[in-house]
C-alpha cells in the first residue's frame, strides 16, 4: 500500500515536471479575436502603446489586443517564433543588434502590406498612403526587395546626423562647417583649444554617417549602387573618396574614442561631447533623453547638423532612421493585424504617439513637437538638404560576411593604425561581391 503511494507520488512528480513543458493554452473559442502585438520599448517608453491599444479596443469591441513590450523584445518573442507561434503585429525597426527584422526579410517571412497603403484609416476618409509624407515608402527600408511591394510600414522617423554643443560654438565664435574643407579647418582650430573634432559612441553609430557621406559624394544613384552591392562599386573613385575623407576625419578623433567604443563605455564617448572635449558625433535624436541626467558644460545646448557638403553648395543628405511595423507571414490573424496597422496611422493614434515625442511620418505631425525636438526636425527645412532612408539591401545570409561590421568597425582599426585604407577598401570590395553573388 505504502509502496504504491510512493510510486504514485513519484509518477505525479514526473508528470508535474513535464506539464511545465506542455502547458500552452489557446483560448480562441470565445468569439473575440485575440491580436498579439509585440513592440520594442525604445526611448519613447511604453505608455503610448497601452494608450493606443485602449483607444483601439474601445472602437473595436470584438478585438482583444495583447501587448508584449520589452527593451529586448527579440529575446522574448524569438523562442516562440522558432516553435511556430508568431505575434500578429511587430513594431521593431532594422539596425538592432539581434537583427530580427533583417532576418525575417532575408527569409521572405513578412506579409505584404501594400494593401494597407490603399486601405482607409479606420474611422477616417483618407487612405494610409495619402496620409504618409512623400518619399517615406518605396525605398529599400520599406520595400526591401525593390519590387514595388511594401513589407514594412514606417512607424516613427527621426533625423540622425552630427550632434554638437551649440553653446560651445556660440562661445568660441565658431561656425558650423558647411563643407569638408571648413570642417578640417575647424579641426585644426579646435585642436589648439584641446578639443577633438570628432568622436563616435561605438563604431556602429557610423552607419548614418556613411550612408549620408556616400549619397553626398555620388548622389542617390551611387548610394543605391553601394546598398545593392553593384559589381565593383567599392573600387570606384567615389567610394575611395568616401573612405579617404573618413580616414582624414578619423585622424581628428578624440584619443579616448576607441577605448570607450564598446557596449559598456559608449556613454563616456557621448559624455566627451557634453564636456566639450569633442565637437561632433554621429547620433540620433534619442541622445537627448539618453543623456538627460548627465552632467554637462555651462551653456550646453544640443545641435544637429547634416554632414558638411563635399563641394560648396552641394546637396547634403540626412540619414533618417525609420522604425518599422510589420506582420509576420506566419501570423494567425492577418486581417485583424492589417486593420490594426492601418489604425496606427489614425489622427487619434498619431496624437498619442506624438505626445511621447514619437513622430510618425504623417503630414502635419511634426508641427506638434516640443521645442528641443522641433529644432532637430528643422534640418529638413533647408532646401539643399534631403532625407535619405534605407540601408544595405537584404540578401540570402552569407556565412561569415557582415558588410556593416566591415564598413563601420574597421574605423576602430583605422584610428589605431592596425589597418590601412587599402585593406579597408579591399575587405569592403570582397564582402560586397560575396553579398551580390548571394542575390542582392
Amino acid at each position: 500500500m505504502r509502496r504504491s503511494l510512493v510510486l504514485a507520488s513519484a509518477a505525479i512528480t514526473a508528470l508535474g515536471l513535464l506539464t511545465g513543458c506542455a502547458a500552452e493554452g489557446d483560448g480562441q473559442d470565445s468569439g473575440t479575436t485575440t491580436l498579439s502585438v509585440a513592440a520594442l520599448e525604445g526611448g519613447y517608453g511604453r505608455d503610448m502603446y497601452t494608450k493606443v491599444i485602449q483607444a483601439y479596443e474601445r472602437a473595436h469591441p470584438g478585438v482583444d489586443v495583447q501587448l508584449q513590450i520589452s527593451k529586448s523584445i527579440e529575446d522574448e518573442i524569438t523562442p516562440n517564433m522558432k516553435a511556430g507561434r508568431f505575434p500578429d503585429v511587430v513594431v521593431l525597426g532594422q539596425g538592432r543588434k539581434a537583427a530580427l527584422t533583417e532576418t525575417l526579410i532575408k527569409d521572405k517571412a513578412l506579409e505584404d502590406l501594400t494593401p494597407v497603403l490603399q486601405a482607409k484609416v479606420p474611422g477616417e476618409d483618407k487612405t494610409v498612403g495619402d496620409k504618409l509624407i512623400e518619399g517615406i515608402v518605396g525605398n529599400l527600408n520599406t520595400n526591401p526587395y525593390g519590387d514595388g511591394k511594401t513589407y514594412t510600414m514606417p512607424m516613427y522617423y527621426a533625423p540622425t546626423g552630427l550632434f554638437y554643443n551649440k553653446g560651445l560654438f556660440d562661445k568660441k565664435g565658431w561656425k558650423v562647417p558647411a563643407t569638408w574643407d571648413e570642417m578640417f579647418e575647424l579641426g585644426e582650430k579646435a585642436k589648439k583649444d584641446d578639443v577633438a573634432l570628432f568622436t563616435y559612441p561605438t563604431a556602429g553609430y557610423l552607419d548614418s554617417y556613411f550612408f549620408s557621406l556616400l549619397a553626398d559624394i555620388g548622389g542617390e544613384q551611387f548610394y543605391t549602387d553601394v546598398m545593392t552591392y553593384k559589381q565593383g562599386v567599392w573600387r570606384t573613385p567615389q567610394a575611395r573618396q568616401a573612405l579617404d575623407l573618413t580616414a582624414r576625419l578619423l585622424k581628428y578623433a578624440a584619443p579616448t574614442t576607441v577605448g570607450y567604443a564598446n557596449e559598456q563605455d559608449f556613454t563616456k564617448n557621448q559624455q566627451s561631447v557634453l564636456d566639450n572635449k569633442a565637437l561632433f558625433m554621429p547620433n540620433g535624436t534619442w541622445i537627448v533623453g539618453e543623456m538627460a541626467d548627465a552632467p554637462r558644460a555651462d551653456g550646453f545646448a544640443w545641435g544637429l547638423t547634416p554632414l558638411p557638403a563635399v563641394t560648396e553648395g552641394g546637396k547634403r543628405y540626412i540619414t533618417t532612421s525609420v522604425e518599422s511595423v510589420w506582420v509576420p507571414a506566419a501570423a494567425k490573424n492577418k486581417d485583424a493585424a492589417r486593420d490594426f496597422v492601418a489604425y496606427l496611422y489614425s489622427d487619434e493614434a498619431a496624437k498619442i504617439f506624438a505626445a511621447s515625442d514619437a513622430i510618425q511620418p504623417i503630414e502635419g505631425v511634426a508641427g506638434s513637437l516640443t521645442e528641443e525636438n522641433a529644432e532637430f526636425y528643422k534640418v529638413y527645412e533647408d532646401p539643399s538638404v534631403a532625407a535619405l532612408v534605407g540601408g544595405f539591401a537584404s540578401t540570402a545570409p552569407v556565412k561569415g560576411v557582415d558588410i556593416k561590421a566591415t564598413l563601420f568597425d574597421t574605423a576602430n582599426s583605422v584610428i589605431s593604425g592596425d589597418k590601412t585604407l587599402d585593406q579597408w577598401q579591399t575587405a569592403l570590395h570582397e564582402a560586397s561581391e560575396k553579398l551580390r553573388q548571394a542575390g542582392g
Binding site: A11, C21, T78, A99, T256, S413
Partner: protein, 327 residues
C-alpha cells in the same frame, strides 16, 4: 581509470565500495515481486531526471550536430542540406581563425595563471597560519558569486583609460608612460579580458583546493618537517601529489567553464571589439547564428567548440593521469 573520481577520501570510498553490493545481494536472495517492485520504483524515480536530461541536453546537442549540415536562417521552414559546406567555409574565414586563436590563448593563459595562483594561495592559507585568512578567503571568493554584468561594470571602472583604477594609480605614481588604453588597444584587449577571467574564477578554485588540502593529515607534514623538509619541498612532495585527483577534476571543469566564461565576459565587456580583436569562438558563433542569420554556420562553429572542448578535456585528463596516492 580508478573508480574514485575525487580521490581525496580513499579510505571511506573503499568502505563504501565493500559495503555497496551487500543490499543488492540481499535483494537477489529475496522474493521476486519485491525485486521487481524495487526496479519499478528506481525507474520511476529516475524517470523525471532522465526525461529532463534527454529533452534539455541530449536532444539539443544532437540538434546542433544536425543543424551544422544545413543552411538555415533560424526561422523559415526553408532549410537546405549542404553537407560539410559550413565546415569548409570555416577554414577560409579569417575572423573565425582569429576567434579560435583568441580562445586558445585565453584558455592556456587563464588556466595556467588561475590554477597556479589558486594552488599557491590555497597552500599559503592552509599551511601558513596567516592572520586574517578567513577574511582573505572571503575577499577572494566574492567575485565568483557576482554576476557577469557586475563584473563587466567593475572592470569598466578598473580599465577606464582616463581615471580608471589602473591608469589612475599609474598616474598617481608618476608612471604615466605605462598608462594603456586597456580595452581599446588591439594587442592588449584580450589580456584585459584574461585579467577579468582570472579575477572572477581564482577564489572559487582556491577554496576547492583548500578543502582538498585540509583533508591531508597534519602528521604527514609533521613527520616531513622532522626530516627537514622545507615548506616548498612539502608542497611539491606531499600537498601536490595528495590533491592530484582533485586537481585533475577541477582542471577539466575549468577548461570547459573558461570557454563559457570568455564568451559572457567578452559580450559584456568588449562586444568582441575593437574591430573583432577580442572575439572568441562562442561570441563569434552567436554573431553568425543570430546577428548574421547564418544559423547552420553558427552551429558548425558550435560543433567545432564541442569537439575542441572535448579534445582538450581528454588531453588534459590523459596528460595528468597518475596512480592515485593514499595516506
Amino acid at each position: 581509470m580508478p573508480g574514485n573520481p575525487s580521490g581525496t577520501l580513499p579510505p571511506r570510498t573503499a568502505t563504501r565500495r565493500a559495503a555497496g553490493p551487500a543490499p543488492g545481494r540481499r535483494g537477489a536472495s529475496g522474493s521476486a515481486p519485491r525485486r521487481r517492485g524495487n526496479g519499478l520504483f528506481v525507474l520511476a524515480s529516475l524517470l523525471p531526471a532522465l526525461v529532463l536530461f534527454a529533452v534539455f541536453m541530449v536532444v539539443p546537442t544532437l540538434n546542433v550536430f544536425r543543424m551544422s549540415f544545413y543552411t538555415w536562417s533560424g526561422f523559415s521552414p526553408d532549410m537546405r542540406f549542404v553537407g560539410l559546406d559550413n565546415f569548409t567555409a570555416l577554414l577560409d574565414d579569417a575572423q573565425f581563425v582569429r576567434a579560435f586563436q583568441n580562445t586558445v590563448a585565453l584558455l592556456v593563459v587563464v588556466t595556467v595563471v588561475t590554477m597556479g595562483t589558486g594552488l599557491f594561495l590555497a597552500a599559503v592559507m592552509t599551511r601558513q597560519r596567516l592572520r586574517g585568512r578567513s577574511l582573505y578567503r572571503f575577499v577572494l571568493y566574492v567575485p565568483s558569486v557576482l554576476s557577469v554584468v557586475v563584473i563587466a561594470a567593475i572592470f569598466s571602472a578598473v580599465f577606464d583609460q582616463e581615471n580608471g583604477l589602473i591608469n589612475g594609480t599609474l598616474q598617481a605614481l608618476s608612471l604615466d608612460g605605462l598608462r594603456q588604453v586597456w580595452l581599446g588597444d588591439q594587442d592588449l584587449v584580450l589580456w584585459s579580458v584574461a585579467i577579468a577571467m582570472v579575477w572572477q574564477s581564482l577564489g572559487y578554485y582556491m577554496v576547492l583546493y583548500m578543502a582538498g588540502m585540509a583533508s591531508i593529515p597534519e602528521d604527514v607534514y609533521e613527520a616531513s618537517a622532522l626530516d627537514g623538509a622545507s615548506p616548498v619541498r612539502q608542497f611539491f612532495a606531499i600537498t601536490l601529489p595528495l590533491i592530484w585527483q582533485n586537481l585533475r577534476t577541477t582542471l577539466t571543469f575549468f577548461v570547459m567553464s573558461a570557454v563559457n566564461l570568455s564568451f559572457v565576459l567578452v559580450r559584456a565587456m568588449t562586444g568582441g571589439g575593437p574591430d573583432g580583436s577580442s572575439e572568441v569562438l562562442l561570441s563569434y558563433m552567436y554573431k553568425q547564428a543570430y546577428t548574421n542569420s547564418s544559423y547552420g554556420y553558427g552551429m558548425a562553429i558550435g560543433v567545432v567548440i564541442f569537439a575542441f572542448s572535448f579534445l582538450v578535456s581528454l588531453l588534459v585528463s590523459r596528460a595528468t593521469r597518475r596512480e592515485p596516492l593514499q595516506f
